[in-house]
Amino acid sequence: MISHERELVAFLAGDLEPDERRRFDAHLLRCDACWRALRQDRWARQALELLRLPAPGGLAERVAMGVELASDRSPRRRGGRVLVAAALVAALGLAGGLGLSFAPSSPPAAPRAPQGAVGTVVRFAQLLPAPSQPSSTRNGSVPSTVGQPLELDAGGQRFELTYYAVDGREEVVATSTLMFPMPAGGVPLPIRQGSQSQGWKATSGGIQMYCQNAPVGPSSVLVAGTGPISALEGLLARIPLG
């Protein structure tokens, strides 16, 4: 520590009285140590201008969505749900950290948008990045997960949400031990011979949904994305589910 550090700090902060400042000005002309310290201080102050950067694109939207999700929770459970919302929205940052841009592929949900787990899946799917290559170039590559799965609870239904990337496109896959209710406007899928699965397909807020519900068994699965239903069905057939 230089011997006049206290005076120098006060000098730099503008805290010295005029006569004290004049005396310190004169001191600076004689003291190499104080002069060097002052130049270092001023250099760093200027250099730090480089770090006064704006927040990354899309962060404001993610923050707003997290707050909006938190506001949907009941006051009684707000404490825990705020943190759940933080976890689930923060996980979007993992995909954001891969350099993907987040832009809703369509306007927000229509007035009769699905609620609960299905509604939450739709809202996450609306944040998917635009495809990086036309769907006609699909080559049957193996789907890969993006980021970590999210454990969520919406409308009393617990489910796990995972992002999958395949053929330049991302989709959202949700799995639950409870069936995903078919939203308004949805279409039931034909029941396949020998299968107990009760599926449906639907569209909401620009998001296509394909669901295979298992009345009895480990998982009902809901796939959501901006691609056609056939692509979602194809993804479901190619991802390993427990």
Partner: protein, 180 residues
């Protein structure tokens, strides 16, 4: 930029909260970027900050929403650091002694090209008290008095830590340039 009082907020309506707090997002992110244990998790820290702030918005009555958000961010960052069992380093005056001898000074170079990444790494090397004061004032835009209130230390201590932090940054960057 409206404070919660200016918008007449007594409820926790999320739009009123966002109107009052999103204008400070850049500053909060800059603080998170340099206070998080892992800079890659800065966005998550910002998310956590805003959610905790939202939960406590009904209690916020002060005029300085930015300082309030920054305080929450710093507390969250420190909680993370404690969970990772990293102890904040003490602010040792002696940490400057090794750098007192004359050496290359970056501002004497003919062409000075500042590397943002190198500067970011240099900030991470500072002691936690110095880093906190420097980040809050230089990047968060807080005054010395606001920084003192957020960090719970005297204004004079904040100014001294900022000064030492700036000098340390200059010395680190000079040493980096002196490498063959």
């Amino acid at each position: 930029m409206a404070s919660c009082e200016e918008v007449g907020v007594t409820s926790s309506g999320h739009q009123a909260f966002l109107d009052a707090t999103l204008p400070h997002l850049d500053a909060v992110h800059r603080v998170a970027r340099h206070m998080a244990t892992d800079p890659g998790l800065a966005d998550d820290l910002v998310q956590e900050t805003y959610l905790r702030a939202y939960a406590a918005f009904h209690t916020h009555r002060g005029p300085n929403t930015r300082a309030w958000l920054v305080a929450i961010c710093v507390n969250q960052a420190r909680s993370q650091a404690r969970r990772l069992r990293r102890r904040p380093l003490e602010d040792l005056g002696a940490d400057l002694e090794a750098f007192e001898e004359p050496g290359p000074e970056p501002f004497q170079q003919v062409a000075v090209r500042l590397d943002v990444a190198a500067l970011t790494r240099a900030i991470a090397v500072l002691s936690e008290p110095q880093r906190a004061c420097l980040v809050l004032m230089e990047l968060g835009g807080l005054t010395a008095a606001e920084t003192a209130e957020v960090l719970g230390c005297p204004r004079g201590t904040v100014l001294a830590r900022v000064h030492r932090g700036r000098r340390r940054l200059a010395q680190i960057m000079a040493a980096e340039r002196a490498r063959p």
